[in-house]
């Protein structure tokens, strides 16, 4: 087991002018589960493959433990990787697949069998050891790929979207299995996904990437409660945070005929007469009759049993702005009505309109 650190690691693809991964600085602690998340093309897979040694590091360096592995070939890095499509060897049985790395490493037959058996027990694969991958279901193949990594007892696990080939239900199940397995084994893990829900539920810490640039690293809570910029604010959370541009007024910013209070020093640090305001759907309420707030026309209410999501639109500074609010599942306005919405004043995220950077301090309640 070891820590991992990226030190200004940069990767240019041949022929490209923009780096796929741009000066990435990232520390993964020993035994930590770090999730790399971002939209497609954000460089998250490239960053992982750089750590695996499958992708060249053009600039900067990568360390595993105290060892600089920047120019070490993949086979000598002592890492195991789970691929998106599992990359099982089709001509080998499950047991042979799992024991292959040990066989190459020259581990004796008895020990190999013992370790494969142990991993199979852990993953509930004992009955399938003599089958070929073709005769397995998607979920079983995924577990074999996991087993192949576990048997190695490597310093670091790398996982490249290992759940994306599973159906929705199995994905949720496997998600928790992988997370608890990792905690039990205590092996440093770097996990790549494009799914922010997966990131929030699995990671000890999450690193958000966009266009090869690291946006923010933090615990799921940090990212949710205190996104450092507009991109992270919009990317983390489902439904996404409401983001709109609002005028700075006396004592805060305008939200319809209500004023959302924001400290004057925060507003003073803004570069323009407007700021970008973010409010999560659960921080928006329907105002009581006669109260102040923003007039919103309800387009649709999504009922999810206990809760409902109200989708509506409002005019803010002459711009049509879509808004989402969490409402009571039993008592809520109906589509077509116009309601006044108010925002909870203690969970407002203020961002600079030009740079997109966060302006106010976040309220993180522990």
């Amino acid at each position: 087991m070891a820590s991992v650190s990226y030190d200004n690691a940069t990767r240019f693809y041949p022929g490209g002018t923009k780096p796929a991964v741009d000066k990435l600085n990232l520390e993964v602690k020993d035994g930590e589960f770090l999730v790399l998340v971002g939209p497609s093309g954000s460089g998250k897979s490239t960053a992982l493959r750089m750590l695996a040694g499958l992708e060249e590091v053009n600039d900067g360096s990568i360390l595993i433990g105290d060892r600089d592995v920047t120019d070490v070939p993949p086979k000598d890095r002592d890492i195991a990787m789970v691929f998106q499509n599992y990359a099982l060897y089709p001509h080998m049985t499950v047991a042979e697949n799992m024991g292959f790395a040990l066989k190459i490493a020259g581990v004796s037959k008895e020990e190999r069998a013992a370790r494969v058996e142990e991993a199979a027990k852990l993953l509930d694969l004992e009955d399938y050891l003599s089958r070929k991958p073709k005769a397995l279901s998607g979920g079983q193949r995924q577990r074999v790929a996991m087993g192949r990594a576990i048997v190695r007892q490597p310093q670091v696990f790398l996982m490249d979207e290992p759940l994306s080939n599973l159906d929705a239900k199995l994905r949720v199940q496997t998600r928790t299995q992988i997370a608890s397995l990792q905690r039990r084994l205590g092996v440093t893990t770097v996990y790549v996904t494009h799914d922010q829900t997966e990131a929030l539920t699995m990671g000890d810490r999450i690193a958000v990437l966009k266009d090869g640039i690291l946006q923010q690293v933090g615990t799921p809570r940090d990212l949710y409660e205190a996104p450092q910029n507009v991109f992270v604010a919009g990317f983390i959370g489902s439904p996404a945070m409401n983001l709109f541009q609002a005028d700075i007024v006396e004592g805060g910013i305008a939200f319809g005929n209500a004023v959302l209070p924001i400290p004057a020093d925060v507003l003073a640090s803004a570069t323009g007469p407007q700021i970008t305001v973010g409010v999560r759907p659960e921080d928006i309420d329907v105002a009581p009759a006669g109260g102040e707030g923003l007039d919103v026309v309800v387009d649709l209410v999504e009922e999810l049993g206990a809760d409902g999501y109200l989708y509506g639109h409002a005019e803010i500074n002459g711009l049509r702005t879509d808004l989402v609010a969490r409402v009571d599942g039993r008592r809520h306005p109906n589509a077509g009505e116009t309601v006044k919405l108010v925002a909870k004043t203690d969970h407002i995220h203020a961002f600079d309109i030009a740079t997109g950077e966060r302006l106010n301090a976040a309220v993180v309640v522990d």
């Binding site: 695996a52 499958l54 086979k75 000598d76 990787m81 499509n85 990359a87 790395a101 190459i104």
Partner: protein, 377 residues
Amino acid sequence: MADFFRWLAQLPPLAQVPIVILAFLAVVGAVLFFIEIAPRRGRRYTIIRLAVSVLVPVVTVFVVGSYTWAAAIGAVVGGILFLVDYRSRQGAGYLLQLWCFLLPAILMLVIGLIVPTIQTAVQAFMNSRGTEFVGIDNFVWIFTQPSGVRTVVNTIVWVLVTPVVSTIAGLAYAVFIDKSRGEKIFKVLVFMPMAISFVGASIIWRFMYTARPADQEQIGLLNQVIVWFGGTPYDFLANSPLNTLFLIVVLIWVQTGFAMVVLSAAIKGVPTEQLEAAELDGTSPWQRFVNVTVPSIRSSLVVVLTTISIASLKVFDIVRTMTAGANDTSVIANEMYTQFKNFETGRSAAFAVVLFLLVLPIVIYNARQIKKQREIR
């Protein structure tokens, strides 16, 4: 028919083209008529069928000018159309179509393949004129006289050496040029011999091997090289048993390109992730090749090996062109031809049977491998 061709031949060439195309279209039209329109249901199609069964004999009378022919053709066409009419009323047609499509192929297979196979097998047990049953005398003859044994042994050497060497060479070449800069050009260079006929290749190589007495100027490349290095000319094709190997070189030269192209395509089909996974599993490039690449291209390897094996079992052109079987270089196919030319049809057929028996296991192995491969994919 003959009159038609004679008439066609005396026309100017430019006029022949449209007539040939028209004739072709007429034949295709007739075929389509019988397959597509004739078996349909409904009164309209019955009328069409009736019209055709009247028209065909009338046209035949005018074209051929013989009432007997017209009557015969009219009867056949009428019969078929009546059958079609009868079936279409029942709503059948699938079976009829099936037979219409299959029959030409089946007929050709039977005439071109099955009947000759049986005839050859029978002839192998007959005397030289095919008039009298002689038991296994022909086979006894093959395996008792030295040149017959030599022929069979040579053929076996061909089958053992050619596929192995050309597959290994093709595979190695495909691996080394894979993803290299001038891959396409390198491929074309090795694939080119495939485009040369065996006879052409043989003539080229006979020049390569040509030996002249030491005091004359050498015209063969290899001997010229030997002379340059101060050696004495060596007659590559005269000295047994190495001469067979020199003939085999020609087939290897031709088949390596085939092996290379097929295996190169197969290598490109090996999933990158599997190779990467193996790399992370700690394998060296050679271990990856043996443990991932080769198992993945196994089916292609089997196809290449068996195809070349069969080609080398049947080799004839090279031996015929370069030595005609002299100096102990003969192979079964060449001997088959020689015996046939000497009016020894029985012995010739016996050689054919031996060849067939040698090919059979390879074909069976090939079929089994294809079945086995389905387990993995």
